[in-house]
């Protein structure tokens, strides 16, 4: 994309107006430098419209939900269940009862992996679980634990040199023994957007369940869980302008009805005797204990905020920024980008290495200029190993990211190269 084309795309999206909604973007850091926040894949910043809801909830409506027979209890319950309806509409879920509030994406994925350890769909030796090499640890470890508990076998798709899923082995990997396919929608390391609908159809053809980690998708692009044709879809609030402590598991109603509970406790029961219990209807069957009420209400406000701007507009803006960032990074000597080199089927997380400068040191120099990025393996050690490295630097954008911030990143990279003066003599 040329810079003129970039201006055309950015012209229809008033990023400066968006930025005014995010108080933290006015912060000065490290000797009074303006904050350049390029770590949104890690966690997004929060607009005033979401932050105000926190105070309003606790100042005016605070109560426990579903059990308080008073005015505040009714208001809090309505706000909490209202957030569930907003989230359901946001991802085009057929029914709000299919939206289960969790702590985060990790808990949502662990929930699914745990309820497949027993009950009517409990896995057994000989069964296979298929994941991919580009998963976040939160979509690897729960399945390893499930396989250890049940004797099932864990298998995975590899990744091509271009950072796409290697689908050449799909016939071997997805077979009559496959009980679960769990994959990431958009990679947090490579940025790759995976062909979820196509793979879901393949998995369903052999009777497998399809689980998707949508942590890096839902914040950045329109997602329609029904159109994707998957069975479970997990994402987290704090990466989509919401607070920490609230995540979502969407699941098909008949599966949520059929599968056993995850955590036991208050709110998830119908009746309890000393011998045994029966369970509440979904989604409450999967929401034991007092949930993160204010956080759910804030997530509902975040959905309102994103919807008000428009997810298609946000996706367009991010694609423009990602194109610009990829083009500029490509012109920096010694920079190697992990994942797709063009902004086609690609999210806004861009991981890269700089010859001769370790990612930690790159990030430290950037930080000294006020540029916040992430350095390390970004909870994706296997995909780094796939590319023969142990760590990378990751810059990630969002609806408030400007081309000038990408320019600041590039300037910081040049400074890092200069400061460390090329590769050390022992560099491998």
């Amino acid at each position: 994309m040329s810079e003129a084309e970039l201006r055309d795309v950015l012209g229809v999206f008033d990023v400066e107006a968006v930025r005014k909604d995010f108080p933290i973007l006015d912060r000065l850091v490290r000797d009074a430098r303006p904050l350049v926040y390029l770590d949104s894949a890690n966690t997004s910043q929060k607009p005033r419209q979401v932050l105000d809801v926190l105070t309003d909830f606790y100042e005016r409506h605070n109560s426990n939900i579903h059990r308080a027979t008073h005015a505040l209890g009714e208001e809090a319950t309505e706000a909490y269940e209202g957030a569930r309806i907003k989230v359901a509409e946001f991802i085009s879920a057929p029914d709000a009862s299919e939206v289960v509030f969790t702590k985060n994406s990790s808990e949502a994925l662990n929930l699914v992996a745990n309820v497949l350890a027993w009950g009517p769909r409990g896995l057994a030796p000989g069964d296979e679980v298929v994941i991919t090499e580009m998963e976040h640890h939160s979509n690897i470890v729960p399945w390893q634990l499930l396989c250890e508990r049940t004797g099932a076998t864990l298998r995975w798709f590899g990744v091509t040199d271009e950072g796409r899923l290697d689908l050449s082995s799909v016939d071997d990997l997805v077979n009559e023994r496959t009980k679960v396919l769990s994959l990431v929608h958009v990679s947090n390391v490579l940025g790759t957007v995976n062909p979820v609908a196509e793979l879901a159809a393949r998995a369903h053809a052999v009777g497998a369940l399809v689980v998707v980690d949508g942590s890096q998708a839902v914040p950045h692009m329109p997602v329609d869980v029904a159109a994707l044709g998957v069975d479970f879809y997990a994402f987290t609030g704090h990466k989509m302008c919401g607070p920490t402590g609230i995540g979502v598991l969407w699941g098909r109603r008949e599966l949520l009805d059929e599968l056993p509970p995850f955590l036991g406790g208050g709110e998830m029961i119908e009746t309890v005797t000393m011998e045994k219990s029966s369970y509440a209807a979904v989604p409450h069957k999967y929401e034991a204990g007092t949930p993160p009420i204010a956080e759910a209400v804030m997530l509902g406000a975040a959905v309102d905020y994103l919807t008000g701007i428009g997810m298609a507009a946000i996706a367009n803006h991010e694609q423009a920024i990602t194109s610009y960032a990829l083009a500029r990074l490509d012109r920096v000597d010694g920079v190697r980008i992990l994942g797709p080199a063009e902004a086609f089927d690609r999210g806004g997380a861009i991981s890269f290495t700089v010859d001769g400068v370790h990612p930690h040191d790159v990030a430290q120099v950037l930080d000294s200029e006020g540029v916040a990025v992430r350095a390390g393996h970004h909870c994706g050690r296997p995909v780094h190993q796939r590319f023969g490295i142990s760590a990378s630097t990751r810059a990630s954008s969002y609806l408030y990211t400007t081309p000038a911030e990408i320019d600041a990143l590039i300037a910081g990279l040049e400074q890092a190269k200069e400061f460390f003066g090329g590769p050390p003599s022992h560099a491998a």
């Binding site: 490290r30 930690h360 430290q364 000294s368 390390g376 393996h377 142990s390 460390f420 050390p424 003599s425």
Partner: protein, 162 residues
């Protein structure tokens, strides 16, 4: 921030030209430590004779801070007693936990005093400590493998490794 407050020239020198790098035999114990948050790794070997540290060799991958720290560590412990090494370890650990307010003993820490600036950056303290934790672990194992009569070095203190 002044980058130079963290990346002092001594640190960059050790990073570019690390001392005692490479794995050598013979050795009494070998350990492999990782920094789980960033993936930095070190394999480190210790060779003792009685309570004397005869050799520390290592192979590592990581940032300038972790690489330089390993190099400085070997300078401080090779040829010294285990007890002196532990004293240096404790002094270095204390410096790294000082949040920039440490007054390191240069007689004990020598080049390692250059890491004082690193202690202001919590995210980097683990980088600086990676090789020291590996050395302490390997030394404890080497001492444990020695016949009881000869393990008269200073005891390895517990509870300081985190």
């Amino acid at each position: 921030m002044q980058l130079e407050s963290m990346y002092q020239e001594i640190i960059l020198d050790h990073y570019r030209n690390p001392h005692h790098k490479g794995l050598r035999a013979p050795f009494d114990a070998e350990v492999h430590h990782v920094n789980p948050t960033c993936g930095d790794e070190i394999t480190l070997r210790v060779k003792l004779e009685g309570d004397k540290v005869v050799d520390v060799s290592y192979d590592s991958a990581g940032c300038s801070i972790s690489q330089a720290s390993a190099s400085v560590l070997t300078d401080l412990v090779i040829g010294h007693t285990v007890g002196e090494g532990i004293t240096a370890h404790d002094e270095f650990l204390s410096l790294m936990q000082s949040k920039g307010a440490g007054a390191p003993d240069e007689d004990v820490l020598e080049d390692a005093v250059a890491f004082a600036g690193v202690s202001k950056y919590p995210a980097r303290v683990k980088c600086a400590l990676l090789s020291w934790m590996a050395w302490k672990d390997a030394t404890a194992q080497a001492l444990g493998a020695q016949p009881a009569a000869s393990s008269d070095g200073a005891p390895i203190p517990e509870g300081t490794s985190q």
